[in-house]
C-alpha cells in the first residue's frame, strides 16, 4: 500500500489492546485521521516524541480499508514546550484541542489545522493572556463555521457608524442601534473586526484598550 507523508497535530490518544494506541490527528491535506500506532507499548510511548500533544510532526501513514489507517513513522517538527510550563496554559490547551476535536467531527477544512497551529503558537508565548487566546479561538471557530456576526451593517442594513451606540441581537447576529444605552461602541466593533479577520492573538495584543474591550465583548461570543 502507498505510504503518505503529511504534517499532523495529535488531537487525542487512546490505548488499543495491550501494545497499540489509536491516535486522532489533524492534517492540512487529509483532514482528520484515525491511525493505529502499532506496538507502541506504554514504556515506549514517550510523553516526548512524535506523538506528543502540543506538537507539530511529520507523519508517514498508510490509509486503511476501513476507518483506521496505520501510522508508519513520526518526526517531531516543533514541540510547544512552554505550554506545559504553566498549569493554566496546559489546561486551556487541552480544552481547546478537545473543542476543536469536537467541531471537526465531519471532514474539516485545512484552516482548522492552521487554527490549532496558531493556538499552540499563542499558548506557547507566555506573555499572551489566556482570556485573549480563548476569546480569539472561539471567534475563529465561529468564523470557520460560517457564524461570523455582521460587523458591517445594523439590523436595518445601515452601515455601522462611529458615533452610534449599539446593542447586539444574538438571534440575528447583528448590531442594533441604541443611541441612549447601547453597550457597544465603534471601538468594540473595530476590535471584533480585527478578531474575525483572523489576526493572531499576538497581533490583537497591540490593540489599544484590549484589556477592557475583551471582557466587554466576551458575552457576545459566550452567548453564541
Amino acid at each position: 500500500m502507498k505510504q503518505l507523508v503529511t504534517t499532523a497535530i495529535i488531537l487525542s490518544r487512546t490505548d488499543y489492546g495491550e501494545a497499540d494506541r489509536i491516535l486522532t490527528v489533524l492534517t492540512p491535506e487529509y483532514g482528520k485521521l484515525r491511525l493505529l500506532a502499532k506496538g507502541v507499548r506504554r514504556v515506549k510511548s514517550k510523553l516526548a516524541g512524535g506523538i506528543e500533544l502540543f506538537s507539530v510532526s511529520t507523519i508517514t501513514f498508510v490509509k486503511g480499508r476501513g476507518e483506521i489507517g496505520t501510522l508508519v513513522s513520526t518526526r517531531l517538527n516543533k514541540h510547544y514546550a512552554h505550554i506545559v510550563e504553566d498549569l493554566q496554559r496546559t489546561m486551556l490547551g487541552y480544552e481547546l484541542i478537545k473543542q476543536l476535536n469536537k467541531v471537526t467531527e465531519d471532514e474539516p477544512e485545512p484552516e482548522y489545522f492552521e487554527l490549532l497551529h496558531q493556538t499552540f503558537e499563542a499558548l506557547d508565548e507566555l506573555t499572551i493572556p489566556l482570556p485573549l487566546i480563548r476569546f480569539w479561538f472561539i471567534a475563529q471557530i465561529q468564523r470557520l463555521g460560517g457564524h461570523t456576526p455582521n460587523l458591517q451593517t445594523d439590523e436595518q442594513d445601515r452601515k455601522l457608524v462611529a458615533d452610534q451606540l449599539y446593542d447586539f441581537d444574538f438571534e440575528r447576529m447583528t448590531f442594533v442601534a441604541n443611541p441612549l444605552s447601547g453597550r457597544f461602541t465603534a471601538n468594540h466593533i473595530k476590535f471584533l473586526r480585527l478578531v474575525f479577520a483572523g489576526n493572531t492573538p499576538k497581533a490583537l495584543m497591540q490593540v489599544q484598550g484590549v484589556g477592557q474591550l475583551l471582557p466587554e465583548c466576551a458575552p457576545l461570543l459566550d452567548h453564541a
Binding site: R41, K46, L47, V84
Partner: protein, 127 residues
Amino acid sequence: MHVLVIEPDRLLGKTYVEALKAVGYSVAYAPTAQAAIVAADEKTPDVVVLEMLLPTHNGIAFLQEFRSYQDWQAVPVILHTFVAPHTYQDIQPILREQYGVVSWLYKPQAQLRHLLSAVKQQLQVEA
C-alpha cells in the same frame, strides 16, 4: 495496596516513600511524569500522589496521558503540591470531574500525617 508517589524533589520523595512504607503500603517512586507512566505500567497503582510542578511535563500533562489509558482511568489521584488551591479555583472542578483528582493537599500547610491520612482514606474508600 500500591501507591505511586510522583515528586520531583528526591529528598521529599524519599521521605514520603518511607513514611508510606512504614504504615504498610507498597510504594513506587517517580521524579518525573514520564518515569511515573513507566512505573504505573510496571504495576498499576491503587492511588497516585502527585506534585503538579514537575520538570518537562507538569501534573496536568501527566494526568492527560495517564487518563488516556483505560485501565488507569479509575485510579484516584491525590494532589500533594506547592500549587495553592485558591489560585486555581477555576480549574478545580475540571481536575475533579475530568481527571479524577480526589483531594488537594497544599504542601506548605499539609503535614506528613495529612498525606498519610488522605492516602489511607482513599484506599479505604476503594476497599
